[in-house]
């Protein structure tokens, strides 16, 4: 009993599995928004979603939304407040999990959304704040060599810096990245803060990953295959991912 699924769908499924029940999640937009809806429907019914514009929700929006400020994301919200209040929750340590992405990532999970060679990107938004303060972050990115660089050209959102106890030394209270979900696999981080392959998505190979990673990648001793999305997961993803 299996069903075919897209790369986007397995990424959403993998992200959804990172949300535990009861957690307070800084959701973000696009894939994580769908992941949050799937997790709530499946295994995390009491998770709370927080959006940097000031919205707090305990249920997913019932209409598709493009931005966090679209009216369907406000309708049925538990609270509508402001950026400072939500950022205070972050800095105060009240957010369990935050989702972020980027144009470039390095081996220590630092992200760039500001400037690459010759290209001006939109900038941090709230990503640097989420990266600083969430008890853990999950990074979602397409896995391409230009994105997986030994060093990012601009460090917008801090991961583990230069590795080891860098976050503590620099005074970052949040826990840093716990997973990177890419189009090829799922990655964790070693105690030294270095990214490490944990599982390959069905159909992607170690060679694919290595060819698209700009540094000699650590591979976990028990690297496996990312669990394919169940039929239930796929159905939910397709229900919620109307803008996919």
């Amino acid at each position: 009993m299996s069903e075919s699924f897209s790369t986007r769908e397995i990424m959403i499924a993998a992200a959804a599995r990172e949300i535990c029940d009861g957690e307070v999640v800084f959701v973000g937009m696009r894939l994580p928004l769908v992941a949050f809806a799937v997790a709530k429907a499946l295994h995390a019914p009491t998770a709370i979603g927080v959006f940097e514009n000031g919205v707090l929700r305990d249920r997913s929006a019932t209409q598709p939304i493009v931005t966090m400020s679209d009216p369907p994301n406000l309708d049925g919200a538990l609270a509508c407040t402001g950026l400072l209040e939500v950022m205070s929750l972050l800095q105060r340590g009240r957010i369990d999990l935050g989702f972020i992405g980027g144009a470039e990532i390095d081996r220590f999970g630092n992200l760039n959304t500001t400037l690459t060679q010759g290209v001006r990107l939109p900038g941090s938004g709230g990503a640097a704040d989420i990266a600083s303060f969430a008890c853990r972050t999950v990074i979602i990115m397409m896995h391409e060599q230009r994105r997986f660089q030994e060093q990012v050209s601009y460090r917008t959102s801090p991961g583990y810096g230069n590795g080891a106890d860098w976050r503590t030394r620099i005074g970052l209270p949040g826990g840093g990245p716990s997973k990177v979900v890419t189009s090829l696999g799922v990655f964790g981080f070693t105690a030294e803060g270095e990214m490490q392959l944990e599982s390959l998505h069905p159909g992607s190979s170690l060679d694919d990953v290595r060819a698209n990673t700009g540094w000699p990648l650590l591979i976990s001793a028990d690297v496996g295959e990312t669990r394919a999305p169940s039929i239930e997961e796929i159905q939910l993803i397709r229900r919620f991912d109307t803008l996919g």
């Binding site: 940097e52 514009n53 679209d70 406000l74 800095q91 709230g126 005074g171």
Partner: protein, 304 residues
Amino acid sequence: MNPIFESKRRQNKLKPLSDAIGDLVHDGDAVAMGLCLESLIPFAAGHELIRQGKRSLTLIGPISDILFDQLIGAGCVSQVIAAWVGNVGAGLGHNFRRAIEDGIPQPLTMHDHSNFTLVLALKAAAMGVPFLPTRTASGSDIVKDETSFRQVACPFTSERLTAVKAVVPDVAILHVQRADCFGNAHLWGNLGAAVEAAYAAERVMLTCEEVVERSVIVADPNRTLIPGMLVDAVVHAPLGAHPSPVQGFWQRDGDSFLRYHERSRKRDDFLAWRDEWITEIPDRAAYRAKLEAEVLNRLAMRNA
């Protein structure tokens, strides 16, 4: 009495949009706009800035979507203080990229913030202090910009913190659901940094969906997030935030953001778009008339 406050003391601050922009915004001003993040973005006011040919503005806002891209492309802007500049629905802002990468139509100085540091900069100004401390973005390249960020030691714990410099806008322009003619404003939905900006700015200009009687305001004083004593002008501008959403009034017009993305990809196409939607129409009423009735019907909400 302090002369700076004269316009704040008027009992009736209602003005046409063109007068409000003409009176309150001067070339070289620092203007905070688009403060709720992706909703209540004062596009009508922004287009009037373009129509009046304002120059050398500093734009301030966390994520002000394509409003900033339009003003940059129109040549009104020499500096941006923001956390994110682009098109929330479609990604990059083409005019922003052209200005930074190629100096077209003119060079642009960018002061990068995170959303948190931007609201702290406005909150510092709102509170009347020159800085506020934070732990955010330690080790990020963002806080290397010494114009906006410096290190400070906590005098109690000796911890190193980042001091975020206060940003005092000359003008904050806010679109709100309703206001009375004195400028007492009810707004709701996600608030972003709107209230902080209103308290921070030297002058405050409101555009609103509805001008209401005082009795509507005092019926729910907890919803008066911007008190009239801070406000210098009130403009009745229904649909003044289109294509961004206004909770209780208008849904987001997503197609409009996507069309803008395509029509701003090339400089010449952007200029044609600007002519069609801004400079060749006299005012917001004409803009509204240009929108198809079907679009307006689709976007309209009942008050929620």
